[in-house]
Amino acid sequence: MQQFTLIFVVHLTALFASTACIDYDGFLNMKLEHSLNCNDEKFCHRGSITLKSIRTGVPIIDQILFNEKHLEALKKLANEDEFYSIKTTITTGENSKGTEYLSSVKAQAFLENGLSDVINAWILPNGAVIAVNFQVANSTQPLKQATNEYKLNSKFYLRYIEQAPVPDTASYIQKMERDREAREKGEMKDNRSFLAKYWMYIVPVAIFVMISGATNPEASAPAGR
C-alpha cells in the first residue's frame, strides 16, 4: 500500500516570518491522516509535515500520491456531497503525546480544484497549536497525473497568533502635546476677520432680529394713515 513519497519545500513569505512574535522555538511534527480508502480503519496515513523550527516556519511536506482507488473513493464521497476529513496529530518538544485536530473539506470541491488544498496551522506565542485548517485552494487546475497517480498539491502556512493592540495612550498624549503647541503658536496670529471668527454667533442673532422685526412691523410704525 505504501506509495512513492514526494518531498517538496514551500518557502513561506517573508511577511509571516517577520511578524512572528513567538516566545518559544522548537520542532513541530504533524502527522496527517485522512478517511479515504482506508479499508477497515477510520483514518489512514496521508503524509506528514515537519518543521525544524517554529520560528522560521519552513515546512517539509511529505505526502502520498493518490491512486485510482483513492480517486474512486473521493468521487463516491463527492456524489453523496460528503466531506473529506483529515485528522492531524501534532507533536512538539513539549507535547510528545500529541494533540489531534480534525478538519474537513467538501469532497466535490477538493476534486474540482485538482486535489489542491491550503493548510493553515494557527500557533500561539507559547508554541501551542490551536487549529489546523484544511481549505480547498481556489485554483481550477486539472488533476496532475504522473503515471496513474495524482499528486496532492498542498500549501502550508504557519499562522502566528499576534498580540492584540492595547489602548494607544502614549501617541495620544504626544498628539495632545503637539496640538497644544500648535494652538499656542496659532493663538499669536489668528488673523481671521471678525466675521469669519464669530459668524456662528452673529447669524442666529441676525435671524432673530429679522424675524422679530418681520412679525410685528406695524407695532413700530406710526399710527397715522
Binding site: 489531534e100 490551536i130 485548517n133 481556489n138 501617541s171 432673530f208
Partner: protein
C-alpha cells in the same frame, strides 16, 4: 459622531431657547428631535423599574415604628424594608454579592442589628424607619476553622456568637451589641456530644448523641455561667430509631425544637413534649406569641386541599379555629413561615399576618381567611434568559390577512363573485367593529387593561423571563405587569436557552416557545414548551429526556404548521428532532460544541439520510494552548439578524465591503501563562468549516467578558492586569474593496480559503462594566449602539462609531471626510448618555434588546436585582413625531393660512372691482 452631537447640543438648545417666543420656529424645530436623553416629564412614560430583594432568608415585622414594615434579609445579601400594605420596598441596602456580604443575623429591637460576612464579620445597627447606618464594628476571629456552623443571636442586649467544634467543645463569645466590647472574653464549654445534626434554639443547643438504639437527647444553655446539661434518653420522646432534629421556622416565644414531627420545648431546664400533632412531615412550623398565649402555626401544601394553614394553642393544645384555612387556588409550593405576627381585635378575635416564602422564591403576605395582601415574585431577582414575543394580531386584522392570503393562494380557483362576497363580508365586519368601538366609548377603554393584541408599531410585546429557580414569567413590556407564571420545580436553568419556535404571526396556530434546560436531579435534558401569550403548555409540554444534551438549535426552516423544529445533539452524538416529522427538512445544518474546561471545540454536520438524522464530527480545534486555557465565552451572531448594507462607502467613492459571515463564532479563552502571567485569547472560528479567521492574544489580561457580535463587528471586555483597568477590544472584518461573492449570492463557509482583513483596536473603559448589549432594530437601518451597564447602576448608550477600530489618531483629509471620530484611548461615558437617568439599577447582570415595529426604536430590558425596561432610538426617532408635538398649533396655523388665502382673495377681488370703477 456621538462626541460631536454631545458637544453641539448645548449650543443648539440655547439657540432653541432663544427662539422660544416665536412659535413658528417651535413648529419647525419640533420636526427634528435633537436630544438623546428624555425630558423630566417623560420619566416613566416609556420605562419602568421594578425593585427586588431576592429570596427571603430572615424576616421580622417591625412593631416599633409607626409606619408598619417588614424588615427582610435575603439570600441575595440584601437588607430591605417592605411596606406592610403594598409590599413595596421602602428602603434597601445591597451588600457584596460574595460571602463577605452574607447576612448571618437579623435582629430587631429599637433598631435593626445585622451580622454580615464570614470572618471577618461586620456587626451593624440600622435605623428602623430610614434604614440609615447608625453604628458598625468589625470582628475578626483568630481561628478560621469551624466558623461555617457558627451561630449568632442577641440576648438581653448582648450579641452572642457561638462556634461549635463537633465532638469537642463549644466556643461562646458575648459582645456588647453597639460597641463590640467583649464582655467576658470567650468561654470554652466542653461538649463532646455535639455533631452536625444539632439545632440551636437560643440559648439552648440541642443534639442527639450516642450509639443507635441507645441515643440521648442532650441540650445545654450555652450562655449560662454554670454548665448545665439536660440529658434524657431519646426513647422517651420518640419511638423511631433515628431522631431527626429540626428548628422552628419562626420562634419568638420559648426555646424548643421539632423531634420527628413532635414539638419539644425547653422550660425550666427540662424537656417538655407538647401534644400537638404535626400533620405533614414537610410542614413548616412556627411558634408565635399572641394575646391569648403562644400559638403553634403549621403550614404545608396539601395535595388535595392546596395551601393549608393550621394553628393550635400551645398551652391548651386546642385548635384555634379562626386561624386556619385551606385554599386550592393558592399555589405556594413548599411554603415556609418567614414571619408571623398575631394580635387580637376588640372582639377577642385573633388577627394574624403571615409572611410565607415558597420554593419558587415568591413571598406572600397572608391575612386572616387566607386573603393574600400582596405577593412578591422574588424569583425575578435572578433572571437567566429573556425572550421578546410578538403579540397576535387582533381578530379583525387576522380576518383581513386571511382574506388576502386566500386570495393569493386560490387565485386560480375562486371566482370573482366569491371574492366579492368575501370582501363585502369582511367590510361589514369592520364596520361592526368600528360601531361597537364607538358605542363602547372611552369609559370602558380607560378601565380595562389594553387587550393582548399587536399594536400598530409592534411596541407592545410579551417578555418571557426564565428565572434561576425554574419559574417562567410572562410579562407585559409596557406596564411590567406579570401576565402569567409557570413554576417548573425540576428545571435547572444553568445554561438554559429559550427559543421562539413559532411567532404569533400565523393566526390559526398559536405562538410556541421552548425552554431547553437540565433536570434538577438527573442532569438530563428537560424541555418545557409553552404558549408565550397565555403561559399554557403546548406541544411536547414538559419533556424529560433520558440523556444529557450537548447542544441544541432551532431549524431555520419551518414545517407545514409554521413550527421550527428543535434539534438536540445529545452526549452520545445522536440527534433528536422535535417534532420527529421535521427530520426530512434537515439540510445543510451544522452545530458546534465547545467544552468549557478542555477548550476543545467540535463541529458537526447534520444530515438526513432518508430515515434519520445523524451528526458527523467534521472539525475540531483545541484552544487549550498546551492545556492551560479554558473557554469562557462562545458567541455567535444573533439568529435571524438582518443586515442593511454590505459595505461602507469611503470618501473616494469606493466601497469597503464587510465580511458578513453568518457562521462566525467568537471564542474567548483565558488561562495562566508561564511568561505573561495570564493571557486571554480571542479566536474567530467559522462555525461550519471550523476555519480560524483571526486570533490574537492579550497578555497580562484576565476575565474576558461581555462579548458583542453583530454584522461584521465584534467587541469584548477584559481586565488589564498590568494597568489594572477594564478595556474593550473591538474588531471589524472586511473583505476589501471587492466582493468575494457577487451581490445576492448566498455566502458559503465551505467555498474556499480566503482570510478577511481584520481591523482591531482597544479602548479604556473608565468604569467597571457589568453587562453589555447591542441595540437591535427591525431592519438594521439605524445605527448600532452599545449599551454598557456599569457597576455604578447606570446604563450608558454609546454609538458604535466610538468603538470603531478604524478610528485613526489624527485622521487625514479623506478619513475626516468619512466622518470617523479621531482616536482617543479612553471611551467617553457622558452622563447624558445614561438611559436610566437617575434610576440606579443594582447588581445588573444582563441587558436584552429586541426590535420593535418602528425602525428607529429598540426595546431594552435590563435584568439583575432590579428589572428596568425602556426603549432607545439610536438614530433618534426619525420615523416618529415628537412626543409633545403640537397638533393643535399646527392645525390652527393651517386653518389660519387657508382662511387668510381666501380672505385675501376676496379682498383682492373687491379691490380690483373698486379699481375698475375708478
Amino acid at each position: 459622531m456621538g462626541n460631536l452631537s454631545i458637544n453641539l447640543k448645548p449650543n443648539f438648545m440655547g439657540l432653541l431657547k432663544c427662539l422660544n417666543s416665536i412659535n413658528w420656529f417651535i413648529v419647525f424645530f419640533s420636526l427634528i428631535n435633537l436630544s438623546m436623553c428624555i425630558y423630566e416629564d417623560q420619566i416613566g412614560k416609556f420605562d419602568w423599574r421594578q425593585s427586588y430583594v431576592g429570596r427571603i432568608k430572615f424576616a421580622q415585622f417591625d412593631t416599633v415604628s409607626t409606619a408598619r414594615k417588614i424588615i427582610v434579609a435575603t439570600e441575595e445579601n440584601v437588607l430591605a424594608a417592605l411596606n406592610l400594605k403594598t409590599g413595596q420596598v421602602v428602603w434597601r441596602h445591597v451588600f457584596e454579592s460574595t460571602s463577605s456580604g452574607n447576612i448571618q443575623l437579623l435582629h430587631l429591637s429599637d433598631q435593626i442589628i445585622t451580622v454580615t460576612g464570614s470572618n471577618p464579620y461586620l456587626v451593624r445597627g440600622w435605623d428602623l424607619s430610614t434604614g440609615v447606618l447608625i453604628w458598625e464594628w468589625g470582628l475578626t476571629l483568630q481561628k478560621n476553622e469551624h466558623t461555617d456552623f457558627s451561630e449568632w443571636w442577641v440576648q438581653n442586649g448582648l450579641l452572642v456568637h457561638m462556634v461549635p467544634k463537633f465532638g469537642s467543645h463549644i466556643e461562646v463569645s458575648v459582645y456588647n451589641v453597639a460597641t463590640g466590647h467583649n464582655r467576658g472574653a470567650t468561654s470554652k464549654l466542653p461538649a463532646v456530644w455535639i455533631n452536625e445534626g444539632c439545632v440551636l434554639s437560643p440559648p439552648y443547643y440541642t443534639c442527639i448523641s450516642g450509639s443507635p438504639g441507645n441515643q440521648l437527647l442532650l441540650s445545654m444553655d450555652v450562655t449560662s455561667d454554670a454548665v448545665q446539661i439536660i440529658s434524657k434518653p431519646l426513647a422517651e420522646y420518640t419511638t423511631a430509631r433515628n431522631g431527626n432534629l429540626n428548628p422552628f421556622d419562626t420562634n419568638t416565644v420559648i426555646p424548643g425544637f421539632l423531634l420527628n414531627e413532635k414539638i419539644i420545648l425547653i422550660r425550666g431546664n427540662k424537656f417538655e413534649a407538647i401534644n400537638i400533632a404535626i400533620s405533614e412531615p414537610s410542614a413548616s412550623v412556627a411558634l408565635v406569641d399572641s394575646a391569648s398565649g403562644p400559638l403553634v402555626l403549621q403550614t404545608w401544601n396539601d395535595e388535595a386541599k392546596g395551601f393549608t394553614l393550621m394553628a393550635h394553642n400551645l398551652v391548651s393544645g386546642q385548635r384555634v379555629n379562626e386561624i386556619g384555612w385551606s385554599d386550592r387556588s393558592l399555589s405556594i409550593p413548599e411554603p415556609e413561615l418567614s414571619a408571623v405576627i398575631c394580635t387580637k381585635t376588640a372582639r377577642e378575635q385573633h388577627v394574624c399576618r403571615i409572611l410565607v416564602t415558597a420554593a419558587d422564591d415568591a413571598s406572600h403576605l397572608i391575612q386572616q381567611e387566607g386573603r393574600v395582601l400582596w405577593t412578591r415574585e422574588e424569583a425575578l431577582a435572578n433572571v437567566v434568559a429573556v425572550e421578546f414575543v410578538d403579540l397576535p394580531v387582533s381578530d379583525l386584522d387576522a380576518a383581513i390577512e386571511s382574506e388576502f392570503d386566500q386570495k393569493e393562494a386560490a387565485k386560480m380557483h375562486s371566482s370573482v363573485l366569491a371574492a366579492f362576497t368575501r370582501r363585502l363580508q369582511s367590510q361589514f365586519q369592520q364596520l361592526q367593529g368600528a360601531v361597537r368601538a364607538l358605542l363602547a366609548g372611552d369609559a370602558a377603554a380607560a378601565d380595562e387593561p389594553p387587550p393582548l393584541v399587536r399594536d400598530y408599531f409592534n411596541l407592545h410585546k410579551i417578555m418571557v423571563l426564565l428565572t434561576d429557580t425554574g419559574k417562567i414569567f410572562g410579562m407585559d413590556n409596557l406596564s411590567g405587569e406579570i401576565l402569567w407564571k409557570l413554576y417548573e420545580p425540576n428545571l435547572n436553568t444553568e445554561a438554559a436557552v429559550m427559543f421562539t419556535r413559532r411567532s404569533a404571526r400565523h393566526p390559526p396556530h398559536d405562538a410556541y416557545l421552548t425552554v431547553v434546560g437540565k433536570h434538577e436531579e438527573t442532569g438530563n435534558g428537560l424541555i418545557v414548551s409553552l404558549n408565550p401569550i397565555r403561559g399554557t403548555p403546548v406541544g411536547e409540554q414538559t419533556l424529560h429526556l433520558d440523556v444529557q444534551i450537548l447542544q441544541c438549535a432551532v431549524l431555520y426552516k419551518a414545517d407545514a404548521q409554521k413550527l421550527h423544529a428543535l434539534i438536540l445533539l445529545d452526549k452520545d452524538e445522536n440527534v433528536q428532532i422535535l417534532p420527529e416529522s421535521s427530520a426530512p427538512l434537515v439540510e445543510n445544518m451544522y452545530m458546534h460544541v465547545a467544552d468549557r474546561s478542555s477548550a476543545v471545540v467540535r463541529g458537526y454536520a447534520l444530515r438526513h439520510d432518508g430515515e434519520r438524522v445523524s451528526a458527523k464530527n467534521i472539525w475540531s480545534v483545541d484552544l487549550s494552548g498546551g492545556g492551560s486555557q479554558r473557554v469562557v465565552w462562545s458567541v455567535s451572531k444573533p439568529a435571524a439578524e438582518r443586515i442593511h448594507s454590505a459595505g461602507r462607502v469611503l470618501p473616494d467613492r469606493s466601497v469597503l465591503y464587510k465580511h458578513l459571515n453568518p457562521n462566525l463564532v467568537l471564542l474567548l479563552t483565558e488561562g495562566p501563562d508561564p511568561v505573561h502571567k495570564d493571557v486571554v485569547v480571542a479566536t474567530c472560528v467559522d462555525g461550519v468549516s471550523g476555519g480560524v479567521l483571526s486570533a490574537h492574544v492579550h497578555r497580562r489580561a484576565r476575565r474576558p467578558a461581555l462579548p458583542l457580535h453583530s454584522e461584521h463587528f465584534l467587541a469584548y471586555l477584559y481586565y488589564n492586569d498590568k494597568q489594572r483597568r477594564h478595556e474593550i477590544a473591538t474588531l471589524e472584518l472586511y473583505e476589501g474593496p471587492e466582493r468575494w461573492v457577487p451581490a445576492g449570492a448566498a455566502f458559503s463557509s465551505l467555498r474556499g480559503a480566503r482570510a478577511p482583513h481584520v481591523q482591531r483596536h482597544a479602548y479604556i473603559v473608565p468604569a467597571a462594566p457589568a453587562a453589555a448589549a447591542l441595540s437591535a432594530t427591525e431592519r438594521s437601518l439605524t445605527d448600532k449602539h452599545v449599551l454598557l451597564a456599569l457597576s455604578t447602576g447606570a446604563i450608558v448608550e454609546l454609538p458604535w462609531a466610538l468603538l470603531e477600530p478604524r478610528r485613526a489618531l489624527s485622521p487625514a483629509g479623506e478619513a475626516r471626510e468619512e466622518g470617523l471620530v479621531p482616536y482617543a484611548p479612553e471611551l467617553p461615558l457622558p452622563a447624558e448618555a445614561v438611559v436610566n437617568y437617575n434610576a440606579t439599577l443594582l447588581r445588573l447582570t444582563r441587558i436584552h434588546t429586541a426590535p420593535s415595529g418602528l425602525e428607529s426604536t429598540s426595546l431594552v430590558l435590563a435584568t439583575g436585582l432590579d428589572l428596568f425596561y425602556t426603549r432607545i432610538a439610536p438614530s433618534k426617532t426619525f420615523d416618529l413625531l415628537k412626543d409633545d408635538f403640537d397638533y393643535y398649533l399646527i392645525s390652527v396655523v393651517l386653518a389660519a393660512l387657508v382662511l387668510a388665502t381666501y380672505s385675501t382673495k376676496y379682498f383682492a377681488a373687491r379691490k380690483m372691482l373698486k379699481m375698475a370703477w375708478k
